[in-house]
């Protein structure tokens, strides 16, 4: 039986909006930023969804455990939302959960790399990674303890990541590092997400495509600026970083950005047509270091993303938009908490932490 949008989203819309209403507000965040110690910060988490962090810190005084808890909470939230949906809608949420799975997989492969290639001790680090099933059945321990890269490929053979992993070889990764493999894995989950979005009903499909296209554009611009302008990666490598979706990679600005020599690349020319305000800001900030300019671009594009999710929350309530906006806000809040925990732990002050918390 087909369900109307009202029937499908009545429960989840009310539930997620209630959660959004309980998220940290600006006053609480400001208070947290002013904390003088980690204990003070975690005490301010009382009565918020982050209250368990306080107990966890009391037991271990280990901030990596706090980060591990934030990750497992995020997995739990994705799974919970998927359990309230059905059919294609649940498939889309599950595909979104794959982002976390890929993050975890990248973390495991980094551990393997440290252990096998760099010969570092990884025993204490393995405990901080998520070791349960996220979406696919992956034997995490087998990946970390793989004697050769080929064994990782075998361990991933029955997952959607097997094909991407098989395109690389242990020897070449030891030379180039894990960056190419990690970007290939990122592209896998984005492509899996696109493949299920096509099965959504027309209204939801249109909305989710709009959001994914916009996100792909923002992420691609950020990658082009960060890796092409700040880190001077080659044009061929930059092309492999481009995520599926969006229009950035089919514009003439993109072609000319990649065609010109590395030292002549201009983020301003890249964004001039799509974000004239940002181009103006970059022009005014001409004397800035490349790092500051990159940060300016990232800040601007993150603000664009934030605005668009706020617009979704103000719009028609019975759509997939509420789920996308909820995950975005949860992600942002987790990132903020993580930045504050690390910032305060390493002795940074409020203005510096605010700078990092995009």
């Amino acid at each position: 039986m087909s369900t109307s949008a009202l029937g499908r989203y009545a429960f989840i819309n009310a539930k997620l909006r209630s959660r959004i209403g309980s998220m940290l507000d600006d006053r609480q965040v400001e208070q947290m930023l002013q904390s003088q110690s980690l204990e003070e910060l975690l005490n301010l988490c009382k009565g918020t969804p982050y209250e368990p962090l306080l107990d966890l810190y009391d037991q271990s005084a280990d901030i990596q455990r706090l980060e591990a808890w934030l990750f497992s909470r995020s997995v739990g939230l994705h799974r919970e939302v998927a359990s309230f949906m059905s059919g294609t809608h649940a498939d889309v949420v599950t595909a979104m959960t794959r982002k976390l799975e890929v993050e975890n997989l990248k973390g495991m492969i980094r551990l393997w790399f440290s252990n096998t290639v760099k010969r570092q001790n990884i025993d204490y680090r393995y405990g901080y990674l998520f070791q349960k099933e996220i979406v696919s059945e992956i034997d995490w321990e087998r990946i970390v303890n793989a004697p050769r890269y080929e064994d990782i490929v075998t361990a991933l053979a029955r997952t959607p990541y097997g094909e991407a992993a098989a395109r690389f070889e242990g020897a070449s990764l030891a030379q180039s590092g894990l960056f190419p493999l990690e970007t290939a894995l990122d592209r896998v989950w984005v492509s899996l997400l696109w493949s299920v979005v096509g099965n959504l009903p027309a209204d939801d499909r249109k909305l989710v495509k709009q959001v994914l296209d916009r996100d792909a554009d923002l992420k691609n611009i950020i990658n082009l600026v960060r890796f092409g302008y700040l880190y001077d990666l080659s044009s061929d490598t930059l092309r492999t970083l481009m995520l599926e979706g969006g229009t950035v990679s089919s514009t003439k600005e993109f072609d000319s950005y990649l065609a010109c020599p590395k030292e002549d690349r201009s983020p301003q020319a890249l964004v001039a047509r799509r974000f004239p305000d940002l181009a103006k800001q970059l022009q005014e900030a001409g004397a800035m270091t490349t790092e500051r300019q990159t940060l300016l671009v990232e800040r601007y594009l993150f603000a664009v993303r934030r605005k668009s999710f706020r617009a979704i929350l103000r719009g028609y309530p019975f759509s997939f938009g509420v789920i996308l906006a909820y995950f975005y806000l949860e992600d942002r809040q987790d990132a903020l908490i993580r930045t504050m925990i690390n910032g305060i732990n390493y002795g940074y002050r409020a203005p510096e932490i605010r700078e990092f918390a995009l």
């Binding site: 949008a5 029937g7 009545a10 989840i12 009310a14 209630s18 959660r19 028609y316």
Partner: protein
């Protein structure tokens, strides 16, 4: 559903409701439109066929009210449960919205009584 489509559906629903009300008024209140002789006849005991239509009208009024209330409560109730599962303190506010939906069956019931009262 886009905002545009939602507005279109809302306008259509309102038009449909108005049309249904107008039709009901026309069908269920014959004495207002009847000639004097039929009015006199109506005050007398109704014929068997007329009685059947009165009962059907009352049943339709009540059952539509009940069905509409059921539909509304299924959605309002689901939303209320969703919100209350996160914030139990809003339970009493949620009940108000459920009661508003419940009102539809009361309207149907009163309409049915009024129709039956004409017998």
């Amino acid at each position: 559903m886009t905002t545009q489509a939602f507005k279109k559906r809302l306008v259509l629903s309102l038009l449909f409701t108005l049309l249904a009300l107008a039709l009901s008024a026309f069908v269920f209140t014959p004495p207002l439109f009847a000639s004097e002789s039929t009015t006199v006849a109506a005050t007398a005991a109704p014929a068997r066929g007329d009685l059947m239509w009165v009962v059907i009208s009352a049943a339709v009024a009540f059952s539509f009210g009940a069905a509409a209330a059921g539909y509304a409560i299924s959605h309002v109730g689901a939303a209320a449960m969703g919100a209350m599962s996160e914030k139990p303190e809003i339970g009493s506010q949620a009940l108000i919205f459920i009661a508003l939906a419940e009102g539809l069956v009361v309207f149907g019931f009163i309409t049915a009584l009024m129709i039956l009262g004409k017998v």
